[in-house]
Structures are given as C-alpha cells and as structure tokens.
C-alpha cells in the first residue's frame, strides 16, 4: 500500500514534465495534476506496474472549472471565455487497496484529452457522459457520441457553467 505522495514521486521520476503538481493542502482528497496528452500513458503505467496495480477505475468525472473571463455573448447571454475544463480520475487497486486521484485540464476552446477506454473499459460510458455534458473530446475513444442527452441535441453541453437552455427543440417548446 502506497500513499499518494509516494506514487507522485514514482510518477515524477518516470514521466518528468508530464506530471505537473501534487495538491494536498485542501480537504479531503489530495490529487495529482497531469498533462492531458500524456494521461493514457500514465494510466497504462499505473495499471501495469507491479507495485501499483491500479486495476479499477472507480469514477471519471468532467468538471467545468469556470476559471475563464466572463463575457457577454451575441444575445447578451453570459458566456465564459478561456479557462479550462478538467477531468478527474479516481483510481483504486483492489489488491493493494490504495487509491489515487488524477486531474487533467484542457483549454475550454479545444478540450482534448486522451482516452483511457482501452485500459479500463469502465471509462467508456463515463467518457461519453463527460463528452455529452461538457463537450470534452476524448481522443482515440471508439464510440464518442452523446449518451444521456438526445443524439440530436444541438444546444450544446448542459453542465457547462455558461449553458443556456434552448427555447425550442425540434419546434417543440421546452417547458423551462
């Protein structure tokens, strides 16, 4: 069993610049920030390494950091320009019972993150959900389409902080 700080040191040694920082000052879970285009290699290492063996992905969540500049859109709506969208990975080893949180952030205008679907099949639907609700693009995902919203939803990605509900969907009035 290893604590997150030890794992951070192992990763730092192996991947260097791709591992950005270790945040442990906030409650409750410490997390490691990594680069979005290296996340699949890092996860593969965590999955395969005999001392770490992260065989289970507990959860994968998209987050809108809303850290950009607030601006007015074409119709006077509030939109957010710049900033990042993030993905959090909660990993666990069923053998060693240690846990780890990884975070990766991609720019809001071009949110591309490498997919970890080929490592944990569990990530398949969670990545589709993050794509559906945040518009995060997972590169190399085999079947990236909407999952919870209708397939032909055109009004954007609802969990973004600047999302605005459309008035009409296929000519039907949306109730509220």
């Amino acid at each position: 069993m290893k604590n997150p700080e030890e794992i951070f040191n192992i990763l730092k040694e192996k991947f260097g610049d791709a591992i950005i920082e270790f945040a442990s000052s906030q409650p409750v879970d410490p997390f490691i920030t990594v680069k979005p285009n290296e996340i699949d290699k890092i996860c593969r290492f965590l999955f395969d390494n005999d001392e770490l063996l992260f065989d289970s992905l507990m959860n994968l969540s998209g987050v809108d950091d809303a850290n950009g500049k607030k601006a007015a859109g074409q119709n006077g709506d509030n939109i957010i320009e710049g900033g990042t969208l993030s993905v959090y990975y909660h990993l666990e080893s069923t053998k060693f019972k240690h846990k780890l949180v990884l975070k990766t952030s991609a720019p809001r205008e071009n949110p591309e993150v490498n997919s970890v679907e080929s490592i944990w099949r569990h990530a398949d639907w969670h990545e589709r959900e993050a794509y559906d609700l945040f518009g995060i693009i997972f590169l190399n995902h085999p079947d990236l389409r909407r999952i919870l919203m209708p397939y032909d939803w055109e009004a954007g990605h609802p969990l973004r902080k600047d999302y605005k509900n459309p008035e009409f969907y296929h000519g039907m009035k949306v109730p509220y």
Partner: protein, 371 residues
C-alpha cells in the same frame, strides 16, 4: 439454392415490461442468437447534477432520493457522508447506528424487489407477491420513522431529521424474527426451483477480470466470486463494529459468475443484513440525533469522493466545493449506470430470451442510470 440470411435489428423497449423502466436495448440478431446489444439510455435524464449546482447542500438530499428510488436511504447515506467529510463533522454515535439500521433495512427492501421482479421476468409470479408483502413491512417501518414510504429525506448533514419512533426498536425486532424464516421459504419457492435454475444457471457468465475492468461492484462482482464489499474493504460509518459475512458466488448450480450466482448472493446478503440489524438494535445507544446538524452548511474549498456499498453496488459521490453554500460540482457514480455498460459483453452468443434473464440479474434502476 442457398437461403439468403441477414442480420436483424430488434428494439427491446423503451416501453417493455422487463426492462424495469424506460430503457431501449438495440439487439443485433443472427436468427435467435445475439450478436451485440446496444443500450440506449437517457429517457429519464433530468440532469440532477445541474440542479444540484443551484441548490444548497441540504437541499440536494431530496434529489438524491430520486435516483435509485428503491434504495433512497442508501443514496442519502453516501451523500451526507461526503458532505460531512468536507465539513469535518463527527456525528453522534446514535446517528451512526440508526443510519446503519435504516441502510440495512433498505438493502433488504431493495433486494426483495430485485429478487421478486427477477422471478417475474422469467415466469415465476408467486415469489414476486411474497417479496412485496415483506417489503411492505419494511416500508411501514420507514413510514413510522419519517413519514415517507419511498422518498425519505431522513439523513441530514450531521444527523437525522427525526429520532426513532418509541415503538421502532420493538417493531424492527419483530420484523427480523418474522422475516428470517421467509428467506428459507423463498429458497424453496424460487432458488431451488428446477425451471428457475434451468433459466439462470450458466447464463450470462461474467468473468472476474472483465467485471473489475468494467467497474462492476456490489452483488454482481461478488457473484463473480470476488470477496469485495466496501463495508469491509473500505469501512465507513460504524460497519467495522459488526460481525457479518460477505457471500460470494460459488457456482453451486453452474459456472461462477452466472445469473444464478448473482441472484443467490442477494438472497444470502439479506440474511447478513438481518444479522447487522439485530446487533445494531441491541447496541443502540441513547443520544440526541440533531445535535451535530450545522446551522449553515458551508464547506471549505476542496473535493471529496465518498462511496458507500449501495444495495446495487458502489455508489460514489464526487463533490467539489468552491467555498460557497452551493456545491460547485456533484458527480454521481451510480452502480446501475456502470453495470448496464457490461450488457454487450455478457449477452453475446445467448438467445433473445436470455437477455431478459441477464438484465434482471444485474438489477438496474433506470432512475439512477439516467439521473
């Protein structure tokens, strides 16, 4: 002349009695053999996570009730534990005991629905009525406690909305005594029924490695023969004070990890839940259940992933706080959502009728799949 054959697409649902809600399964068939299953979900999507961002922390609790509406108590359990971790609150011991008692009663109620409807899906109607008769008694206990039968809003951040009814302990003990022989009766009716075994043994085998890779948890993972239960492996609340076993699939009538194993794990778990309830009722301490409820829930900046062993599997809440009274982000990792993802893997090569048997055995609730 050779007969021309082609693959057929069959839509099962969205309005189909055996899909337990509005779910559409797109089956690709070669004759009667399944080539692939593509679940289409989202018919109940109300974006609870977006709603939650506009609520204060305590206001979210009624919403989590409505995800897995067959196990509302346990949904609240995971959420309040998460917020309490963020706040750094220690709740009184009496609260912990009552939470465990309610949680385990809820587990039995949820498993009774799973078992009853599973029997009904594949043609056994009587056990369904027996199960719902017993579930009613549990719901009456809940009604006695907090006035609601399904959606409770009973667990609050730092405590509970009410203390127990003065008559609760006696009634609960009576229920345990009444219910224990009924498990045996259920075994005679359904578990060891020849027709039931023929429909479920060796069907939908889920190998352990696949299960872990797909994030399967709860009775489905244990059905594949892995002793993994968050109540023991990552203890929360006061579960480490109780003595209980973790049943796993043994392949008694077929292969380890088949539908029957998953079903039988649930039957055995009800017995274990009764054991926990008995111990908790005997040890129940006195105290005030509302003393630790904060006046204002305003966690510091931070994030937490709290998870509990829901009747259906690992229920996780990923909560990010930005230091205000509203949660910045809540992501729910629902077991039903995850378990539905494995359908394609375990249905391949089976008959159409087996899809019903497999879907019933993984026990999903669409309210939680779609959230």
């Amino acid at each position: 002349m050779a007969l021309k054959t082609e693959q057929m697409i069959l839509n099962m649902g969205p309005q189909h009695p055996a899909t337990h809600g509005v779910l559409r399964l797109e089956l690709e068939l070669e004759g009667e053999i399944i080539q692939s299953v593509q679940p289409h979900i989202g018919y109940l999507h109300r974006c609870f996570e977006k709603h939650a961002e506009a609520m204060t922390y305590p206001q979210v609790i009624p919403y989590v009730d409505r995800m897995d509406y067959l196990a509302s108590m346990y949904n609240e359990f995971g959420y309040v534990i998460g917020v309490e971790k963020l706040l750094g609150i220690q709740v009184p011991e009496r609260v912990e005991y009552i939470r465990v008692i309610m949680g385990e009663l809820q587990r039995i109620a949820s498993h009774l629905v799973a078992i009853g409807t599973y029997g009904m899906d594949i043609g056994a109607f009587t056990p369904f009525l027996y199960c719902f008769r017993d579930r009613e008694k549990i719901l009456s206990l809940f009604e006695m406690t907090c006035g609601a039968r399904l959606l409770y809003n009973y667990f609050w951040v730092g405590g509970l909305s009410h203390d127990l009814h003065p008559d609760f302990v006696r009634s609960a003990k009576e229920f345990v005594k009444y219910f224990r022989p009924n498990i045996k009766e259920l075994n005679d009716l359904l578990t060891n029924n020849r027709i039931f075994i023929d429909r479920t043994a060796n069907v939908g085998v889920l190998p352990l490695e696949t299960a872990i890779n797909y994030g399967i948890t709860g009775p489905n993972l244990r059905g594949s023969g892995f002793k993994w239960d968050l109540r023991k492996d990552d203890p929360y609340s006061i579960y480490n004070k109780f003595d209980f076993d973790i049943p796993t699939g043994q392949g008694l009538v077929g292969t380890v990890g088949d539908c029957w194993d998953r079903y039988y794990v649930r039957i055995q778990e009800m017995e274990q839940s009764l054991r926990i309830i008995e111990q908790a009722l005997d040890q129940l301490p006195d105290g005030d259940v509302t003393s630790a409820i904060p006046k204002r829930v305003k966690p510091p900046i931070g994030q937490v992933y709290s998870r509990v062993e829901n009747p259906k599997g690992e229920l996780g809440y990923f909560i990010i706080s930005d230091g205000s009274v509203n949660p910045f982000r809540i992501k729910v990792r629902g077991p039903s959502f995850v378990h539905l993802g494995v359908m394609n893997e375990i249905c391949k090569g089976h008959m159409v009728a087996d899809v019903i048997a497999i879907l019933g055995s993984i026990d999903i609730v669409l309210g939680e799949v779609d959230r």
